[in-house]
Symmetry: C2
Subunit: 208 residues, 2 copies
């Protein structure tokens, strides 16, 4: 084996990347050192720059370099709608549809009790404060004077995503907020024969 503390250290460090094990990390390290040293330095600089400059948007919690991200700062957006997603990637998928002009709240995670991720770990309180702000006496603003009139839950349709949506819906409904969920149903272009039963059952229940 190549004898090098620097190489071992690099391989160990690369294992911090999600989905990268010992063999992949070694392959990455060899590749960078053998074929792409400029690329290695580019990654190093990008990591340091990002760690230093990126923080959470004060309004929607996504990753940004500004105090408030571009989407939240855009005066063209409909500020009465707030769409709750798990990750910036989910937000990007919604944006690509061009079908939504409201604002977002990015949880940066999902409730996952088995992994020890509770409501405090994914910024649910920040969402509640954003959707239902408090007045100067610490009381929730009445519905008429709130900026956000509807919260659209767009967490993933997985067990954790559904649980997260359920918890948020309960909490916000108790504060008098209108809460909706992305429709479940048959995907565009699919044939019923090949759609799973749970999806068809939901599509039947939610028919319109």
């Amino acid at each position: 084996m190549a004898d090098s503390n620097a190489l071992d250290g690099l391989t160990q460090a690369l294992r911090k990347l999600p989905g990268v094990g010992a063999k992949s990390a070694a392959r990455m390290a060899f590749h960078l050192l053998q074929h792409d040293k400029p690329g290695a330095l580019q990654i190093a600089r990008a990591l340091e720059h990002a760690v230093q400059s990126i923080r959470h948007c004060a309004l929607c919690n996504t990753l940004t370099e500004q105090e408030v991200c571009v989407t939240c700062a855009n005066p063209q957006r409909d500020r009465s709608k707030l769409c709750v997603v798990e990750t910036p990637a989910d937000q990007a998928a919604l944006e690509r549809t061009l079908a939504y002009r409201g604002l977002y709240f990015v949880l940066m995670g999902k409730l996952s009790p088995l992994d020890g991720v509770g409501p405090n770990d994914i910024g649910l309180q920040k969402l509640f404060d954003r959707a239902v702000p408090k007045d100067e006496h610490g009381q929730p603003l009445p519905a008429a004077s709130r900026e956000v009139q509807e919260v659209i839950l767009a967490t993933n349709f997985t067990a954790e995503g559904e649980a997260t949506a359920h918890v948020i819906a309960q909490a916000l409904k108790s504060r008098g907020m209108q809460v909706t969920r992305l429709a479940r149903g048959v995907p565009v272009g699919s044939e019923l024969e090949y759609v799973d039963l749970g999806t068809i059952a939901h599509a039947l229940t939610d028919r319109r």
Copy 2:
């Protein structure tokens, strides 16, 4: 999408890693910035340290921080045998067998004409100079006064690895060097019924 040049830059940089595309890079960037900023800085520092300190062993061409790597500097090794491998990972696999006590030469690649990788790109000349050194008149040393008496080809048994072995064998045999190849045959623990035909044919030819 999260609006951030630093984030975009990081995602672009992470795509330099082998086997990492746009989605994986974005997932890695989000994970590091959201859950593991110390890990991100650790990777950055390890990359910079490795790029600065790692070079090629003067004897065996592997990655090392010294002028000559630990294996080549070890006086316990049999200096008359030189095992040619493609990568440090292959060398590590051979070392784990504890069945070889000679030295190595690490090509850091393989001949691959389709990818434009020719003999000059993988340091074949360095191997030839290592196995058959020249005297002060630029003539190859006679066989009796060479340190290396046998070159064992342990490139992979793929099309490129076989081609690489063939080219090296031709060149070294023409210089009067004894050249051997790792045996092809039935893997330990396997049943003939499930072994591919090419392997069985080779095992028959090379029976002993």
